[in-house]
């Protein structure tokens, strides 16, 4: 187990290093006019040169990368171009918002998806199965920005118009200001993220449950006289969850990037919003910092997933 973990960790680090290289190359090789933007319209070439020097942009590209890498290894991702705020601070400020959004939404979609998937698989061809299949396909085909806007239209605008101002139009309330305001601001964003993914998980769980239910060991379990519930939940669901866990690992990692749209629609000041702001200002250190942070999330999520396999499916052996 320890060797396996170490191996995965090393590969994860390698992947992260390659990503840092790729991100750096992509964003720094493409000429940017940050110094010009910062200096203003009437800047002399000297001013621009001075600003470039201050930001370290006049250094050779390899030296820039080396400085960036050594700093990053010391937990320093640089400063944003405009206000000289450390990138780590920007990430730290935005992270609680994104985490609130991501964790709440993933709990919601996992429970909805797995529950619906099991219901569908245990009663295939039933009315519930068909209804759930249709519903999940509709939500699956809906872009998240559209779903967010639809929810806003019905649950914010029409409800408020009807005299029930239950949900706000957007924004964020920190949890320290009270649990209810926090949750109230997040319910619609949670639903936006969760309904879409719940659809994927319903289909995934259903398919994998159906596969597992046709296997011999399920017949054995039934032949032993176990109750239907015990067979379905203790024997079948456990190994049927393996592909679900794989998908969850991928999604959890991608979530840091995937919240961009939801945060934009509901004006939540999270990582997605921060990155969009940075992108609009061509604030490279912030973009690179967030992309690297998000990639690290993907790598860590993948390692965690590999470990969860072992717990879920006794057939998986580590090499």
């Amino acid at each position: 187990m320890l060797r396996f973990l170490l191996h995965r960790l090393l590969i994860g680090l390698l992947v992260l290093w390659l990503i840092s290289l790729a991100v750096f190359a992509l964003f720094f090789v493409i000429p940017s006019n940050v110094a010009r933007t910062l200096a203003g319209r009437q800047a002399t070439p000297e001013t621009i040169a001075m600003i470039e020097h201050r930001l370290g942009l006049d250094q050779p590209i390899l030296k820039q990368y080396w400085t960036f890498l050594t700093n990053a290894l010391h937990g320093d991702l640089g400063y944003d171009y405009y206000h000289q705020v450390p990138v780590t601070t920007i990430i730290a400020q935005a992270l609680p918002v994104t985490l609130s959004l991501a964790i709440g939404a993933s709990i919601l979609w996992l429970s909805m998806g797995i529950f619906n998937g099991v219901v569908s698989a245990v009663h295939p061809r039933s009315f519930a199965d068909r209804a759930l299949t249709v519903f999940s396909l509709v939500f699956y085909s809906m872009p998240s920005f559209l779903l967010g806007l639809v929810l806003l239209y019905f649950l914010y605008f029409q409800l408020t118009l009807a005299g029930y101002p239950i949900f706000p139009a957007g924004g964020y309330a920190p949890i320290k200001d009270g649990f209810w305001p926090w949750m109230d601001h997040l319910i619609l964003p949670w639903l936006t993220l969760a309904l879409l993914s719940a659809a994927v998980y319903t289909r995934l769980t259903r398919g994998s449950m159906l596969d597992v239910l046709s296997e011999d060991y399920i017949k054995t379990a039934r032949a032993k006289g176990l109750s239907e519930n015990r067979v379905n939940y203790r024997h079948a669901l456990r190994s049927a969850l393996t592909p679900v866990v794989t998908q969850f690992g991928i999604d959890l990692g991608q979530l840091v990037g995937g919240v961009v749209v939801t945060e934009t629609v509901f004006s939540l000041p999270g990582l997605g919003k921060a990155s969009i702001d940075a992108i609009n200002q061509q604030d490279l250190p912030v973009i690179i910092g967030i992309v690297l942070f998000a990639s690290a999330a993907v790598v860590v999520a993948n390692i965690v997933v590999d470990m969860v396999y072992v717990v879920l499916d006794p057939r998986v052996r580590l090499h």
């Binding site: 390698l14 159906l210 840091v256 992108i279």
Partner: protein, 314 residues
């Protein structure tokens, strides 16, 4: 080869002889697909959308409204707000007094065009990389597999947005950025298939007959990994269409005034309280398109892989 019609002295008429036809997996899959009513209905919807895209100018001709023409006199209310659907503007107008129906029809061109082109690019890169990695093996495989991991670890949407904003948005950039970030999962699927196919007996047989690597790769291995490629391709198109719409929605799609669904939905955001049609029509067009592709893709998958799912459907 001669067919024996008479056995044991009895003469059989030709009608009684059941001809045994060899049916390739492709024919079988197509026949299963043809019997899938939902998939065929979705295919019909897809063809309809393709026709709308192709004949978008016809919509402009019938209504007499160009896609980018602004009717500030009849297309806007005295307060300067969009006009609701009526006999002149069947789907209403947008914030600049343009005909929503005509713009939705033209928008289909962008969605389908990017959807198909970016998917093709993704598939080509994915298949080439997957085939190379799986077939050659060794160091090449290790390096390519690691590279696939790296691309898969990229926060896709974030990186795509950053890249588009730095290079500058355009149709070509959108297609290449989508292709650049999405080929990896296709490559992984193809690689896995190749790894199992190349150990089969018929590959060994081809090798013992003196076939070269290139021939084996193209003639013996490639056709046998085609089924998952086709299934994945059909399911990729709706995903790509959504990504394109999302980029447009975030202001990183096509330059205005080119009509496209994601961009129209973005423009309508400030008007959803007063002009529902402005958001509704491009939105419903987008959902119908992706839904049709998803349903059709499901059918294709079931047709190639007629296992549990299909049996359970009844």
């Amino acid at each position: 080869m001669t067919q024996v019609h008479a056995t044991g002295g009895e003469v059989q008429t030709t009608e009684q002889v059941r001809r045994i036809e060899g049916r390739s997996p492709w024919v079988l899959a197509w026949e299963r697909l043809r019997r899938d009513r939902l998939a065929m209905f979705s295919l019909g919807v897809i063809i309809l959308i393709v026709l709308v895209a192709l004949f978008a100018p016809v919509f402009a001709a019938i209504t007499g409204h160009g896609p980018n023409e602004q009717y500030r006199d009849i297309g806007l209310t005295p307060q300067g707000l969009p006009v609701a659907p009526n006999s002149t503007f069947w789907f209403g107008t947008d914030d600049l007094g343009r005909d929503v129906l005509v713009r939705v029809a033209y928008g289909a061109r962008v969605s389908l065009g990017v959807g198909v082109l970016a998917t093709l690019l993704t598939v080509v890169i994915g298949v080439v990389v997957g085939l190379t990695a799986g077939f050659i093996g060794g160091v090449t495989d290790t390096v390519l597999a690691r590279f696939i991991d790296v691309v898969l670890s990229f926060p896709f949407l974030l990186a795509a947005i950053a890249l588009v904003s730095i290079i500058g948005p355009s149709l070509t950039v959108t297609i290449f950025v989508i292709g650049f970030f999405s080929w990896a999962s296709m490559a992984r699927i193809v690689r896995g298939q190749v790894l199992s196919v190349k150990e089969r007996e018929y590959v060994e047989a081809a090798r013992s007959l003196g076939a070269g690597n290139g021939r084996i790769m193209l003639i013996d291995v490639f056709p046998n990994v085609l089924a998952p490629v086709i299934v994945y391709t059909t399911l990729l198109i709706p995903v790509v269409i959504v990504i394109q719409a999302t980029l447009s929605f975030l202001g990183l799609g096509l330059q205005p005034p080119t009509p496209d669904w994601g961009g129209m939905i973005d423009e309508s955001r400030n008007y959803y309280q007063t002009a529902w049609w402005f958001m509704f029509f491009p939105g419903i067009a987008l959902v119908i398109t992706t839904l049709a592709f998803n349903l059709f893709g499901d059918g294709v998958r079931d047709a190639f892989d007629p296992r549990v799912e299909r049996l359970m459907r009844g």
